[in-house]
């Protein structure tokens, strides 16, 4: 029985009078692809936000590799191995694809401003190494030819994939993907599913928010379902698809109601 | 020192209160615009300054008062004061509208971020302040006293001056009128809706441009009134007072909670009193530093101000 990579225990998130997350608990196992689904407003992106430190929990504990993330600065959380993409694409538009990813790979550099200024060998070495790594990631995701194009000029599909490449640049152990297939046509979705599997096979763990049911069910090892901030199911994809509570949450009415 | 202070406490306090109401009105200019646009209207300070000049022009050039004129009394006095007040309000209100149209509207449409409108606002401030400075030859302008600033009463040992009283009562009336407008009229409700959630307001069919223009207009009216009260109290003005009072009024708005009308009231009074007391102890040359210290303290201990919103929230 392996230790979970990420563990949420009794996580509650309140904003003033609104309870966005209510006593949510689940684990993410190493090298699994966990799908996170639920109707709009169920709290899925909020889960990403509390994991990455955007919000401080009202109560509950989130542990990563056994250590609590409470009170940790956001960039430190990223450094410890969690990276994410964003529902509405948030690339640095005036920078090239390569620069976007290189900013992410800067996360683990030992050299900083001063060594860069004075041309210290360690800075030059790391810069060269990370530039190659960034290109490698772009190639891995399949957008290597766009490395010198400004992010704001890229086609939509390329931008979505750049978001993923950029997140991978931080050498995460856990990758949070927030609706990576939004706006994709079926062919692109198939490619994306393939990419996600390749990411997992390369050693990363993936937590995936998606609205496209077939994509989620095909790609995920397990699925967690949220509704109104609460976890209502946590199981294998097949079981989820037949779970009456899940069906009710999405459609409002159980299938065999009379 | 302390003994001296206690002796003068009430007269200092009355002076501080009337200054406080002047700050409230200018602070309203900042806070209302911040509420609908989430932006500091830098140019508000110069709109105040222009308002003061409008008052001087009315009293000195229209009604032809000079330093040696006789004081006006009775009905004539109220007529002169009312005219000066209304003209100042209108001038500032209209100027505020123009500023929005010229300096901010285009940037708002283009969604150009937070730096661009701020820089544009600074430019507008400069243009207004410099234009007036050139026209006045960089010299302060004296305003003739149109009325006898008698003491109309006593409170403990302090005399209550007529001008301070007029300021407090009139400004309070304006404030109440404003809050009534915001709470009871349709436009007022629209302004509140846009302050809370501009997108939702737009989807509900509210004309955002109209609301924003109205907000600038109303803010300008209040600020112009402050200009009138300032000249009434201090009998002079200069192209540089926009900056001096603007920072103080802005601090008042932050102290009370920017975007919050109640906050502007509280902050304005607090700052007026604070500044008056501080000037007594430290001398007037450290006034600006005192105000900045207050600003810094507020921003770091209670950035929401007493009633308002936070300025350090990130948006994800």
């Amino acid at each position: 029985m392996t230790e979970p990579l990420l563990s949420l225990k009794n996580v509650t998130m309140k904003f003033g009078g609104v309870t966005a997350l209510n006593d949510v608990s689940f684990d993410v196992k190493p090298q699994e692809i966990l799908g996170l689904i639920g109707p709009n407003g169920a709290g899925k992106t909020t889960i990403f936000n509390v994991i990455t430190g955007v919000y401080a929990l009202t109560s509950g504990v989130i542990s990563f590799e056994g250590q609590s993330l409470a009170g940790k600065k956001r960039y430190k959380i990223t450094r410890s191995g969690i990276a994410r993409t964003f529902q509405n694409i948030r690339l640095w538009g005036d920078m090239t694809s390569l620069e976007n990813v290189m900013t992410a790979t800067d996360t683990h550099k030992k050299s900083g401003l001063l060594s860069g200024l004075f041309g210290m060998p360690i800075s030059r070495r790391e810069e060269k190494r990370d530039k190659a790594r960034a290109q490698e990631l772009l190639d891995f995701i399949g957008i290597g030819e766009y490395s010198d194009r400004l992010a704001k000029n890229l086609p939509y599909g390329v931008q979505r994939r750049l978001e993923i490449a950029r997140a991978l640049g931080t050498e995460p152990k856990l990758l949070l993907l927030d609706e990576p297939a939004a706006g994709f046509n079926p062919a692109e979705k198939v490619e994306l599913a393939d990419t996600i599997r390749r990411i997992r096979d390369a050693g990363y763990t993936v937590l995936l928010i998606e609205h496209d049911m077939s994509l989620v069910m095909k790609v995920s090892d397990r699925v967690v379902v949220l509704d109104f901030g609460q976890k209502i199911a946590d199981d294998l994809p097949k079981a989820i698809q037949e779970d009456p509570r899940v069906i009710e949450a999405y459609l409002g009415v159980p299938e065999n109601a009379s | 020192m302390i003994g001296n202070f206690l002796d003068q406490f009430w007269s200092l306090t009355f002076g501080g209160l009337s200054l406080g109401f002047i700050y409230i009105l200018i602070a309203l200019g900042y806070t209302l615009v911040y509420g609908v646009l989430r932006m500091i209207n830098f140019a508000n300070s110069e709109i105040f300054m222009v308002g003061t000049f409008a008052t001087v022009i009315v009293v000195r050039d229209v009604f032809k008062f000079t330093q040696s004129s006789e004081y006006a009394t009775g009905l004539r006095l109220w007529f002169i004061l009312a005219t000066a007040l209304v003209i100042s309000m209108l001038v500032s209100g209209l100027l505020s509208l123009v500023v929005e149209l010229v300096a901010y509207r285009r940037l708002r449409r283009r969604n150009s971020g937070i730096l661009a409108p701020l820089i544009s606002a600074i430019g507008v401030s400069m243009v207004l302040a410099e234009s007036v400075r050139i026209m006045t030859d960089s010299r302060p302008v004296a305003a003739p006293r149109a009325m006898d600033k008698t003491f109309i009463g006593q409170f403990f040992d302090a005399g209550i001056r007529l001008d301070n009283t007029i300021i407090v009562i009139a400004a309070l009336a304006l404030f109440i009128a404003l809050t009534t407008f915001i709470n009871k009229t349709r436009m007022g409700k629209a302004i509140r809706a846009v302050s809370m959630n501009a997108n939702a307001a737009r989807l509900m069919g509210i004309n955002i441009d109209g609301v924003i223009s109205a907000t600038f207009l109303i803010g300008g009216l209040m600020t112009g009134a402050a200009g009138f009260f300032y000249v009434l109290k201090y009998e002079n003005t200069a192209s540089s007072i926009g900056f001096e009072l603007g920072i103080a009024a802005f601090t008042a708005a932050i102290l009370g909670g920017i975007g919050n009308i109640k906050g502007a009231f509280f902050g304005g009074l607090a700052l007026g009193l604070l500044e008056t007391y501080a000037s007594f102890f430290l001398g007037t040359q450290w006034k600006a530093v005192t105000v900045f210290i207050v600003l810094v303290l507020v921003l770091y201990t209670r950035p929401n101000g007493i009633f308002g919103e936070s300025m350090t929230q990130s948006r994800v």
């Binding site: 990455t52 955007v54 956001r74 960039y75 990223t78 450094r79 990276a83 948030r90 640095w92 538009g93 005036d94 920078m95 290189m102 900013t103 800067d106 996360t107 683990h108 050299s111 900083g112 401003l113 860069g116 200024l117 041309g119 800075s123 010198d148 194009r149 000029n153 950029r166 | 932006m39 500091i40 300096a103 285009r106 940037l107 150009s112 937070i114 730096l115 409108p117 701020l118 820089i119 544009s120 600074i122 430019g123 401030s125 400069m126 243009v127 410099e130 050139i134 920072i247 040359q285 450290w286 600006a288 530093v289 900045f292 810094v296 921003l299 770091y300 300025m311 350090t312 990130s314 994800v316």
Partner: protein, 339 residues
């Protein structure tokens, strides 16, 4: 102008190392020969051409490069930049008149003082966003001026007089009116500043600043230590301002609080905005134009600040990218692909 820029970028891209070195040296030589062109159309009617080259032109250029790090590259609106200039100048003034140290010895001290000021201002101020940072920095600038105005040790409104000029270097004498020497000295510092900025922009710092400017929240979530780099931007910007201040004081021999008003902060801001925020060449061009023209065209001289205010409003509304926009590298590359 756009075509010139891309043409220039193309030529640069296509040149090898020796060609590039030649271009750089030729440019520096051209600029260094500016003081000799006083008799031409460049002559200024109001003040002596050569003195104008030093102040305001070279001074504004240097300060604009510094402020550009803060505003242009990192997107932090600093309205109190004059504070660092003042701190550098007063350091020179005080130490120059009260100790035996000469300008070159005081220079590192002045720079250090400014950097320290940048740090103590930055640590609290940079926790705030946008507008509020602007107000706090504006306040800081004003406080520095008011303190200088009211402290006996700093000379109150009379300021500091008889500040010594720098000692001779390589046989060049620094008399009060040897404008050319001062110009070349400033040119050296400008080149140093350019080198520093370009060096940093190509590496981690540059990327960090860009990402902070464009989307700070996301930068933080992608591992950028945003606070640290914002502080760096402030401190480096301050160092340039401080250096300018030291040199300014040792040229004018006499400084007073009136020399360090909010207007100066806004002037430098106008240079950055006008020239093209983020683009170092744009910023230099903007500073040259805005510093030089009011002295060249007499009637502009009187209404200098008014013009700068108009520049700010007009630029923001019509051409927010400035004269020379940020890197349009893509255009140059696309043309290369096509050919």
């Amino acid at each position: 102008m756009i075509n010139l820029r891309d043409k220039g970028a193309e030529i640069w891209e296509k040149s090898g190392r020796p060609a590039r070195a030649a271009i750089v040296l030729a440019s520096i030589a051209a600029v260094a020969s500016l003081p000799f062109m006083g008799g031409t159309i460049l002559n200024t009617p109001v003040a002596s051409y050569e003195s104008v080259l030093v102040n305001p032109v070279a001074m504004y250029v240097l300060m604009a490069i510094g402020l550009n790090i803060v505003i242009g590259k990192s997107g932090l609106l600093d309205l109190g930049y004059v504070a660092f200039f003042a701190i550098g100048a007063y350091t020179m003034g005080l130490l120059g008149t009260k100790t035996d140290l000469n300008t070159w010895e005081i220079l590192p001290i002045g720079i250090a003082m400014s950097m320290f000021a940048g740090l103590i201002l930055g640590v609290p101020a940079l926790k705030l966003r946008g507008d509020y940072l602007a107000i706090i920095t504006l306040g800081f600038g004003e406080i520095v001026r008011i303190v200088a105005l009211n402290l006996g040790a700093l000379g109150r409104s009379e300021g500091i007089q008889n500040i010594p000029t720098p000692p001779a270097i390589f046989g060049f004498e620094y008399a009060f009116d040897s404008h050319r020497i001062y110009f070349w000295t400033l040119l050296v510092f400008i080149l140093l500043a350019i080198w520093m900025v370009r060096r940093l922009s190509a590496r981690r710092a540059g990327r960090a600043w860009e990402s902070i400017r464009q989307d700070e929240d996301v930068a933080e979530l992608l591992g950028v230590p945003t606070f640290k780099y914002k502080i760096w931007a402030f401190v480096l910007g301050a160092s340039v301002g401080g250096a300018a201040g030291v040199l300014y004081a040792s040229k004018t021999l006499y400084i007073a609080p009136d020399n360090f008003t909010l207007q100066i902060s806004i002037l430098i801001l106008a240079c950055v905005v006008f020239g093209g925020m983020g683009n170092i060449w744009g910023v230099i061009l903007g500073a040259v134009v805005l510093a030089y023209l009011p002295d060249r065209i007499r009637f502009l001289s009187e209404a200098r600040l008014l013009v700068f205010g108009l520049v700010l409003v007009i630029m923001m509304n019509l051409r927010p990218d400035g004269l020379l926009p940020r890197k349009k590298r893509e255009k140059a590359i696309v043309t290369k692909e096509k050919s």
